[in-house]
Assembly symmetry: C2
Homo-oligomer: 386 residues x 2
């Protein structure tokens, strides 16, 4: 397999962007990534998008977006793994470059979520759960993550304060991210007084409904050097699935697909967690960040919440998590999220993170963890400054 | 890149299969393919499905289907390129094996189309067209292909008889396929007296709405030899897109994405069309087969219809097309179609085509052409007996 590098990144503002359609958003991010990489053509494009059919009545995005990007006859495809679609697009593009099939490949992600009316977004997102055994009986994602939170509290004594600590930290980070949907700080009191969604999760425990797109350009390390760009190598890629129905899992307080994907990525990279400096993880709900950091092996089972309270995962902590603001503050256009995570890692490794959220001590290796549904799929990637 | 072979094939009956759900259908085909290959585990799985969100309210198929297949924690994903989703799954799996990332990969396809009520299927399928510039204004696929048919008739003098010849031929072939939805012969008179859908296309010019699944196992040629299976190599893979909106194309009477994908696949294989013995092509409507055979370069522009009338594309002809019965007679569960085309080519190359439709003179090289929408995406593959 050939060595692969990321040479360009671009994303739109995340938010309720009612004046731009799905195709407008994608093309804006894609052109920014091509400009950032200094390339004017692609050999292939992989677009991650969860459910454009349910959100805007449109499938066949690979072709549609290649056309609007002006890349005629491009080998362009779409991949889907619910909220991990962006991470899957990145992995698919990585394999394509590594294989020798294509030299310059765009991995993009997009979701246009606010055009749907009423409760539509919640029900569209529920297509990531088991339609026949969960959704049909009334379950949606806030409810499923609330079940995980209750189980975690029961088993480990995880507290309301710990959930709040995740939200407060991520909003602090996001307040320094110019692309974030909610770029402002919040307090513990605000989180704990916010409206209840599914007990114990309140609205400020939940990531928002978001429009947005993100794109990165992958190529070989050899071509990256010729382009004169900082060379950030993809050294590990792990992908694993689990039952999408929460009740079919062995244990609701851990995420096995995340553990397996991380093991695979670390093995491929020839690294251990001690070598990783920071990570972007999938905090679709505050409880998710706690369980994910435990499942990755960063903290012992039941200790993820305490780590957040103690500031270990803050910008200044021993292992910063979600320096971008995470899904919670930056926003969560589901198909774009996995790619936006890669962008934050690239920015940190390049030393380009905006407005004071740049990590000190020149980080060398970063990780992303992007998951679908209540953890039914997970993609983990490890990137290193060459 | 490593040499890749197909070592196992499996599919369900195609038809209106109301007693089986999407997951039941997929698992049935997948187990048949694993049994046929003689493998009991997978390293990865790629599922092609066009729009399970609109048809059955379910996304996240990679995880769901890996779980139901009993392949815990598998790296499993879904890809989509409208009606070319199956072909895209095959290409994605091919690249993954070729890259060295995985050794044993399943490429599967599935669509459950008959659970949706009323006109639902037509509108779900319309998500493969341009929602904002075609569908919003009332266009659906029978109408779009009817426009292509009228343009082709105007430009080249293509006739009603030529369209009928395609339908009659494919039903004759399909009458010998035990997996076909409509395994019976039809006459020219029946086609021409069938109900009008979108002039000049009648109901017997159209492929049906179908439930079904298909799966194949890809691995390296080295592993294939150890498994003791007939080694059928994947020697060419071409993928190209075009504007999905028909009015955005330069010419409605040809399919540029098909031409480009075929050129790429032939170049990769180091072959010319003269080396290919037969093909499965995307006859979603009778006019499609005519335009596709011209766009592939098998016949000159405007001569595809005449070739069908003269029997050149029949089982006994100089270049047999759709020996399986094609989408027209075999059925068209959109996500499964591209994989089912591969299965027919494998069966013909192994000498296993059922009930008298086996080609004489031991074919050595076969081709598939699978397209999305009105030709907005195309996948072409070339397979050869090793």
């Amino acid at each position: 397999m050939r060595d692969v590098a990321v040479v360009g990144v671009g994303m739109t503002q995340f938010g309720e962007i009612w004046e731009k359609s799905l195709r407008d958003l994608y093309v804006e991010a894609a052109l920014a990534a091509m400009d950032n990489a200094g390339v004017d053509h692609l050999d292939s494009m992989v677009v991650g998008c969860m459910t454009p059919g349910l959100f805007v009545g449109q499938e066949h995005l690979g072709s549609l977006l290649a056309d609007y990007l002006g890349q005629k006859y491009l080998a362009a495809s779409r991949v889907e793994s619910a909220c991990a679609s962006g991470g899957l697009a990145f992995r698919t593009a990585f394999i394509e470059v590594a294989s020798g099939m294509s030299d310059i490949v765009m991995a993009g992600g997009v979701e246009k979520m606010t055009d749907i009316s009423g409760d539509g977004a919640t029900y569209a997102l529920a297509a990531a759960a088991d339609q026949e055994y969960e959704v049909f009986h009334g379950a949606t994602f806030p409810g499923l993550y609330a079940l995980m939170a209750v189980a975690h509290m029961e088993k480990y004594g995880t507290t309301r304060e710990m959930l709040s600590a995740v939200a407060v930290k991520n909003h602090r980070n996001g307040s320094m991210n110019p692309f974030a949907q909610y770029p402002f700080k919040i307090t513990r009191q605000q989180v704990e007084e916010s409206v209840m969604v599914a007990s114990p999760l309140r609205i400020l425990d939940c990531s928002p409904i978001t429009d947005g797109a993100a794109a990165v350009i992958l190529t070989t390390v050899d071509i990256a050097k010729k382009l004169g760009k900082p060379v950030i190598k993809v050294i590990g890629s792990g992908h694993a699935t689990d039952a999408i129905a929460l009740h079919s899992r062995d244990d609701m307080t851990t995420l096995k697909a995340t553990s397996v994907a991380a093991e695979k990525a670390l093995k491929m990279a020839g690294k251990t967690l001690k070598d990783i400096n920071f990570a972007e993880v999938h905090d679709c709900f505050t409880i998710a960040e706690i369980v994910v950091t435990e499942s990755l092996g960063l903290f012992k089972p039941g200790k993820g919440g305490e780590a957040a309270v103690k500031g270990e995962t803050s910008l200044e902590g021993s292992f910063p998590i979600n320096t971008s603001g995470g899904l919670k503050s930056k926003g969560h256009p589901v198909g774009a999220t996995g790619v936006a995570q890669i962008i934050e890692v690239i920015k940190q490794l390049r030393g380009e993170a905006e407005n004071g959220r740049q990590l000190k001590n020149k980080p060398k290796i970063g990780m992303t963890q992007n998951m679908g549904g209540s953890g039914g799929s997970t993609l983990v990637h490890i990137l290193e400054v060459a």
